[in-house]
């Protein structure tokens, strides 16, 4: 039976690094000097070196099969970098356009709500609004909103009253104090009273007052309002077309890429 030298961890680490040639010149000289002088250290070194050699002599195993990927199966799992093409860009653009449409919708609603505030502010100055009312029948309507407002005054038929009732009903209901008062001011004006057959159905008029058309009556420059209210639907329609086109393009692109 022979002795079994057990070195400390530091010496084992030195021997391991010495075998791998990972010592500095000074460390290597020190280890080599100790190997000449210390039998236990030399025996351990030879055993560890034999162990490392046995490890390195271990024959590599042959893989039991090929591990290549099936293109048909991984096609749907294409790396994300490959998916960042036109299709992805079209999808992102479509989402962006959708968000833009929603934002325009919200802004238009907020705009119609904000339009009621000036009407309330104008309400105390009813005498100033009366000349405008007098001028209304002589001016041709420049927008649908203005036409709706002027219909009760001119007595002309109201072809799209059902549509106009739908949107403002939720915003310009009787809960707002300014709307009925403004309506009352309009009815009380002498010019309107001179037209007895104009307002046979007053229940239709209140919602129309809370619409943007009311602002036209109160604002000194009513010409600018019709241009903005007519532009928003056109822009929305354009964006819807863009969204549909982008979505279709993305779908076609992804389909062509398989």
């Amino acid at each position: 039976m022979t002795t079994q030298p057990q070195l400390n961890d530091h010496d084992l680490e030195l021997l391991s690094a010495y075998i791998d040639g990972r010592l500095s010149a000074d460390e290597r000289r020190t280890v080599e000097r100790r190997l000449d002088e210390e039998a236990d250290l030399r025996l351990t070194y030879e055993e560890v070196r034999a162990t490392v050699q046995a490890l390195r002599d271990l024959e590599p195993l042959r893989p039991p099969r090929s591990f290549t990927l099936d293109p048909a199966k991984v096609a749907v799992q294409r790396p994300p970098a490959a998916r960042l093409g036109w299709g992805r860009l079209l999808q992102v653009a479509g989402v962006f356009a959708g968000v833009l449409i929603a934002a325009i919708g919200v802004l238009s609603v907020l705009g119609s709500m904000g339009a009621n505030a000036p009407s309330m502010a104008v309400q105390p100055t009813a005498p100033a609004a009366e000349p405008m009312l007098a001028a209304v029948p002589t001016e041709p309507p420049t927008s649908m909103a203005e036409a709706r407002e002027s219909d009760p005054l001119t007595g002309t038929p109201i072809p799209q009253r059902d549509d106009s009732m739908a949107a403002p009903s939720a915003l310009g209901n009787g809960a707002e104090p300014g709307a009925p008062q403004a309506f009352g001011t309009i009815i009380a004006s002498p010019e309107v009273a001179a037209l007895p057959q104009v307002a046979p159905k007053p229940t239709i008029a209140p919602p129309a007052i809370s619409s943007p058309g009311t602002v036209d009556l109160a604002q000194p420059t009513p010409v600018a309002e019709p241009s903005t209210s007519a532009g928003a639907p056109d822009l929305t329609l354009l964006l819807i077309v863009v969204v549909v086109a982008l979505a279709g393009g993305a779908w076609l692109w992804r389909r062509s890429r398989g």
Binding site: T2, Q4, D9, L12, E13, L15, S16, A17, D20, R22, L43, T44, E46, E47, V48, R49, A50, T51, V52, A54, L55, R56, D57, L58, E59, P60, L61, R62, P63, P64, R65, S66, F67, T68, L69, P71, V74, A75, Q77, R78, P79, P80, A81, A82, R83
Partner: protein, 201 residues
């Protein structure tokens, strides 16, 4: 070679599966051997190898250059660690590493190649078996470093890339793992130099 590998990686990042398969063919032996040495059985190693390549393909966009081999071996190492953790939660018995013995001979399903019967071959086979047994008994962090250094031939720096450990830790784990294997081989009297020292004494 490095340029060709870079070209394949770039093409694979653009979704070219065939380029990635060229990389698979280049490294599947190395990855499989790493998985086998860490997991200890062929079926688990094959599954881990396949999972490693699939994971590498899915995360290829995250490869930002450097050594593709180290990056791939790191993925394989992580897959093996996951498998070992799952094995700890649900232990299974490996027929290869069962430790059951009949007499002095360990039982194994591996059939010896009977076409070669020299004594040197028998001794080498015995040594290889002892090494495999010893590797399986090492703590997994030591086993990984020993496999990467002595079986895969990686440098300390490459091992640091694969394991994420610093050089000092790698040196320590390597020396401890080698020392434990040395103890095992000495117990089984499989160190040739040991016999020579015995004879000298």
């Amino acid at each position: 070679m490095a340029n060709e590998e870079l070209r394949l990686v770039t093409a694979a990042q653009r979704g070219d599966v065939e380029s990635f398969n060229a990389l698979v063919r280049l490294y599947e032996g190395r990855v499989y051997n790493l998985c086998y040495r860490l997991l200890g059985d062929a079926d688990s190693a094959a599954d881990a190898t396949q999972d490693a390549f699939l994971s590498a393909y899915r995360h290829l966009h995250a490869f930002r250059g450097g050594s593709f081999r180290s990056w791939l071996l790191r993925i394989a190492t992580n897959v093996c660690y996951d498998a070992l953790r799952a094995r700890q939660r649900r232990p299974v018995v490996s027929l290869d590493a069962s430790g059951e013995t009949v007499g002095d001979e360990p039982t194994s399903l591996q059939i010896a190649d009977t076409s070669e019967t020299p004594d040197e071959f028998a001794l080498r086979r015995e040594l290889a078996r002892a090494i495999e047994t010893g590797l399986a008994q090492l703590p997994v962090d030591q086993r990984l470093v020993v496999v990467l250094c002595d079986l895969q031939g990686l440098t300390y720096e490459e091992i640091a890339e694969v394991t994420g450990a610093n050089l000092g830790t790698i040196k320590s784990r390597l020396s401890r793992g080698r020392a434990r294997l040395r103890d095992l081989l000495r117990e089984e009297e499989l160190l040739p130099l040991r016999f020579r020292h015995d004879g000298e004494e």
